[in-house]
Amino acid sequence: MPPALSLHNLRKTYRSGVEALKGIDLDVAEGEFCALLGPNGAGKSTAIGIVASLVRKTGGEVHVFGHDLDRDPGGVKACIGLVPQEFNFNQFEPVAEIVVNQAGYYGVPRREAWVRAEAVLRQLDLWDRRTVMARTLSGGMKRRLMIARALVHRPRLLILDEPTAGVDIEIRRAMWDFLRETNRQGTTIILTTHYLEEAERLCRQVAIINHGEIVENASIGALLEKLHTESFVLDLREPLRYVPALPGYELRRLDETTLEVVVPRGRTVSGLFDGLARCGIEVSSLRNKQNRLEQFFIDMVDRGRQAQGGAQ
């Protein structure tokens, strides 16, 4: 079975001379939920733009479910649903018509398009707003409209470029549930996001792109395995009289009832608790200082920056 997406030596150099992609290779299996991460300007949107036929590649190959973008662009396009980063629908068109028209562009007959539009707008809680002009929707509704539009032709590969940017946590969590369910029903999903918690919660595969190159491509579990340390914040039951020295752990006092602890790989949290208990310190609660994927991502970007600095 061909992968849902296969990029081989994909290159893009803009007219300005900026080399946005330096020959990336990436395979995403059918049914996967993959996060494409990277700092701003890393090349994520360029890669997505090429796959969606919005950006012309300079070199390399793109295959979607076995369709070659150069030889069979129609076959590639028919498989893809795209939720772009910026709102790109007609602001002066009624909500339902935007979705119905999109179905029509994929060859769905008008009557059937209305049936599908109703289903997908109801799923995304937009059916009540079907007759209003799109510009009157709130930011969260506009994001959901773009998801509805991308799904109405039932794509096999859904690509979302920062779909939850600027939406409140309640809507974000509802969108996560919706995307999880969409993936569970068989749609392959590729997601770019700056919310690394989002990637960690939703995705099974993570590809990290930096300076136009794929620097990591593995399962979430395999990536987190590479974390050398993990930082925790501990809330203490009693005010801290002194910072104990626990061999193998790095402890730092944040305030009189809060400790920050760095646990290196190979050490355990239960070992930490044992050590603290021996010093008479009781812990009332514990939380990760930062999301684990975020920690990995920051380490990776820092390493990239240092390597660049060294090269210069």
Binding site: Y14, G49, A52, S53, L54, V55, R56, P73, G74, G75, K77, A78, I80, L82, P84, E86, N88, F89, N90, Q91, E93, E97, V100, N101, Q102, G104, Y105, Y106, G107, V108, P109, R110, A113, R149
Partner: protein
């Protein structure tokens, strides 16, 4: 799904979208040409025209009817496509089409058909207005309808090319203001080129709009300053050239893709 079926549904979708678009804003799209034409008939037809006598064997008010109808068809077919497609670029919803499997010829065809329908609606509305001021018979329905449709197609296609190149709202008003309007006014809407000195007659024959207006005038009144075959040949040649150019622009993604 077969390519033909997909193309048929996509074409219908684009055309429906375009018709709904200009229908929603009929106060800006359909009504103004009717008002303008009524004013032309009052001023040039009734007030001034009644003192001018006949032109090419017809009362002046009858003589200007074909030109005024075709002028509204030209400007509205052009305006519909240039504003709609540029807006699609400006708001980026042209990406809805670019990411979909709709063939480029269908994108072009859909927008041009939308422009033709607006030309047809406005042209019919202006004809109805004209009928309040004068009685005119149609000399040849075949020529009238053919010139009407072909001219509308030509200027709708030209509007598409303009929109592809446009980078600002100024860019979509420059061609209509500085090229289209002068060519139309100097294309014999209000006069017969036979009235001009020979030098200016020759210059006028370099204006393609002259051929369209005269061919349309032949269809309605049975009089023309030009050869009908040449007029049709010219219109079709322009459609083929502009249509081919527009498709080439779409295939290359010029003005649309980075």
């Amino acid at each position: 799904m077969s390519r033909w079926r997909l193309s048929a549904h996509a074409f219908r979708t684009i055309l429906t979208k375009e018709i709904l678009r200009f229908s929603r804003i009929w106060l800006q799209t359909v009504l103004p040409p009717m008002v303008t034409t009524a004013l032309y008939f009052v001023i040039f037809g009734r007030l001034i025209g009644s003192r001018l006598g006949e032109m090419d064997g017809h009362p002046y008010i009858d003589f200007i009817v074909p030109g005024l109808i075709l002028m509204s068809v030209i400007s509205n077919s052009y305006a519909n496509v240039v504003s709609s497609f540029y807006n699609a670029k400006f708001q980026r919803h042209v990406e809805e089409l670019l990411i979909s499997p709709v063939p480029n010829a269908v994108i072009l065809g859909g927008y041009v058909a939308g422009g033709v329908v607006r030309g047809l609606v406005v042209g019919t509305a202006v004809t109805v207005v004209a009928s309040f001021f004068t009685d005119f018979a149609v000399h040849s329905y075949a020529v009238t309808v053919a010139v009407f449709l072909l001219t509308s197609m030509l200027f709708a296609t030209a509007g598409f090319v303009n929109a592809v190149f446009a980078n600002s709202f100024d860019d979509i008003s420059v061609i209509p203001t500085f090229v289209l309007t002068p060519l139309t006014y100097l294309g014999g809407v209000f006069y017969s080129v036979s009235l001009l000195p020979e030098v200016w007659q020759r210059v006028s024959f370099a204006n393609p709009v002259l051929y369209m207006i005269n061919a349309f005038r032949y269809g309605l009144l049975g009089v023309t300053d030009i050869d009908l075959g040449l007029a049709f040949g010219l219109i079709v040649a322009f459609i083929v050239a502009l249509g081919g150019f527009a498709l080439w622009l779409l295939d290359r993604g010029i003005g649309l893709k980075s």
